[in-house]
């Protein structure tokens, strides 16, 4: 019986898992840099431009490992707002200016990167 309880407790604890750290580690959140694209080693990168409502390269998947840094650089021909779902990163896009959003991929799943005003899906970040 005692063993059963112990097993149940272990299962319960394992099931609850570690708590989300996103908002507990201050350096880890809302780190939006407006720098021109320049590759850093070990990053999952995407370089996307939006012209006349068209996404180029066409919306695809950006693969990343959990813990890896993801950097998405976007150049839009109109003012817009960039949003990474799930990670809730946002950045203002000004016409013709490349903007890079960089974040640590600490949640697994598939997350859309989209523009708010034009409502376009630029890419989907797949974190494994």
């Amino acid at each position: 019986m005692r063993r059963l309880i112990r097993v149940a407790a272990v299962v319960l604890v394992a099931g609850c898992g570690p708590l989300s750290q996103t908002h507990h580690n201050p350096g880890n959140s809302h780190e939006v840099a407006t720098v021109p694209p320049g590759g850093r080693a070990g990053e999952a990168r995407a370089d996307i431009s939006v012209r006349a409502g068209r996404v180029s390269p066409p919306s695809g998947w950006l693969e990343a490992r959990r813990g890896q840094t993801v950097a998405v650089t976007v150049t839009s021909d109109v003012a817009d707002e960039l949003h990474v779902h799930g990670y809730d990163r946002t950045a203002e896009l000004r016409p013709g200016q490349p903007v890079t959003v960089r974040f640590r991929a600490d949640l697994t799943g598939v997350f859309e990167v989209e523009t708010h005003r034009s409502g376009l899906v630029l890419t989907q970040v797949a974190v494994r």
Binding site: S59, E81, T90, L107, E114, V121
Partner: protein, 420 residues
């Protein structure tokens, strides 16, 4: 400023499936897809050779009677209050962090699945429309069958997956108003018989509830029964196949709609996103239905029996359930937390969604097990129905097209999980 823009953007994010949600599931690993496919194939052929030769399920007559008469009135009043609360939140709360869309798309729509699976036809038990008097002015036309529910389910699925702003309060309020008006009008005209066939959510909950150990016979008696007996008790009626095909096709479209190919097509389409999305959703439902009609036609020819199509619709219910579980499991786990947090105002206390409750491995396992289990249950239900309806000499051959049909759905479901 940013908050305001964020809120508009949240609402505009209509491309992602499920109406609400921040995250999509990763593709299942190739090994899982193969394991599921092989399991489905093996089970199908074993079933053909090894399962019983005489029908065993006794449908509505089966089960052990339990003497509980749940008093439904308080539950219905509570459901009415919950619905009014949701409508109030949609109307009055700011769009950002509004609990309404989560209550509708996650707790209600997805939550009905496990609730019905455990407790039987729960929406029937708690439906606020059943507070209206049951005084039919005329009998419900038999040929109407489940068609109104099929149309309602299609409308809801469209709202959830295709509408320009699925999570915007006006969208949900418009859907809710039309839905409620239709149910009230139907009930005032045809009495409660309308709700049984015309309320999309009651039909959805009741169909899934047929798999529950807590069954409800047609005369209202509560019974404890096996899921296959419960499934066998689904009464064929016009539109039943359509209703099940909407569930299956709609969930299939949900799986497909996040695929980059489709996202690109939607964004580049001259029809516009909503136009092409509508075409895609209708095509998915039509594809599922055509495949069903074709395979049942062949089964009828091989088995030498006519009019089989409506009498096998019940065997699609577990397959549709498998699809629903596979596509909504992670949504219920993650966004279900958000629904509760927002509804109770816990977000103001700093409570957050725990994203580590289940990992990708668990999600993939649940998805594959759900699809394969749905397949197995569908095969068993179809087998039993075949040996009852088809002449003994043709029962085995007549089942082959049915198994081909189910394999198509199952392999299609696994492919969606693997590739999209």
């Amino acid at each position: 400023m940013s908050g305001l823009v964020l809120l508009q953007g949240e609402m505009a994010a209509g491309v992602l499936a499920h109406g609400v949600g921040e995250r999509g599931d990763l593709p299942i690993p190739l090994f899982y897809a193969y394991a599921g496919a092989v399991a489905a194939l093996v089970v199908s052929f074993l079933a053909l050779g090894l399962l019983w030769a005489d029908s065993r399920f006794s449908g509505d007559r089966a089960g052990r009677v339990i003497r509980v008469r749940p008093s439904a009135r308080p539950a219905r009043v509570a459901a009415l209050l919950a619905a009014l609360y949701t409508a109030g939140r949609l109307l009055l709360s700011p769009a950002e962090g509004n609990a309404g869309p989560y209550l509708v798309y996650v707790l209600f729509w997805v939550g009905l699945v496990p609730a019905s699976l455990l407790f039987g036809p729960v929406w029937r038990t708690v439906s606020p429309f059943r507070l209206l008097p049951d005084r039919p002015r005329r009998p419900l036309p038999a040929r109407l069958g489940y068609w109104p529910a099929a149309a309602g389910l299609l409308a809801f699925t469209w709202t959830e997956l295709v509408a320009p702003e699925p999570a915007a309060p006006p969208t949900l309020l418009a859907f809710g108003a039309v839905y409620a008006a239709a149910q009230v009008a139907g009930t005032l005209t045809y009495g409660h018989a309308w709700l049984e066939r015309g309320d999309p959510f009651e039909v959805y909950s009741t169909l899934i509830g047929h798999l529950s150990p807590l069954g409800r016979r047609e005369d209202g008696t509560r019974v404890l029964r096996g899921p296959f007996d419960g499934l066998d008790a689904v009464r064929p009626a016009p539109g039943l196949v359509a209703a099940v095909c909407v569930l299956l096709g709609g969930t299939g479209y949900d799986g497909f709609s996040g695929a980059p190919v489709w996202v690109d097509a939607l964004q580049a389409s001259p029809l516009g996103r909503t136009g092409l999305g509508t075409v895609g959703l209708l095509a998915a439902v039509a594809g599922v239905a055509l495949l069903y009609a074709a395979c049942l036609g062949v089964a009828g020819l091989v088995g030498g029996t006519r009019g089989l199509a409506p009498r096998f619709a019940h065997s699609l219910v577990p397959i549709a359930l498998g699809y629903l579980v596979a596509h909504y499991f992670s949504l219920l786990v993650f966004e279900g937390q958000r629904a509760v947090i927002l509804a109770l105002g816990l977000d103001r206390l700093g409570v957050e969604v725990n994203r580590d409750v289940v990992g990708p491995g668990t999600i993939a396992t649940v998805q594959v097990v759900a699809i394969v289990a749905g397949h197995v249950a569908g095969v068993v239900a179809a087998h039993d129905r075949s040996v009852r309806l088809l002449p003994p000499g043709r029962a085995v051959a007549g089942q082959i097209p049915l198994f081909v049909l189910m394999l198509c759905y199952t392999l299609g479901g696994l492919t969606l999980l693997f590739a999209a």
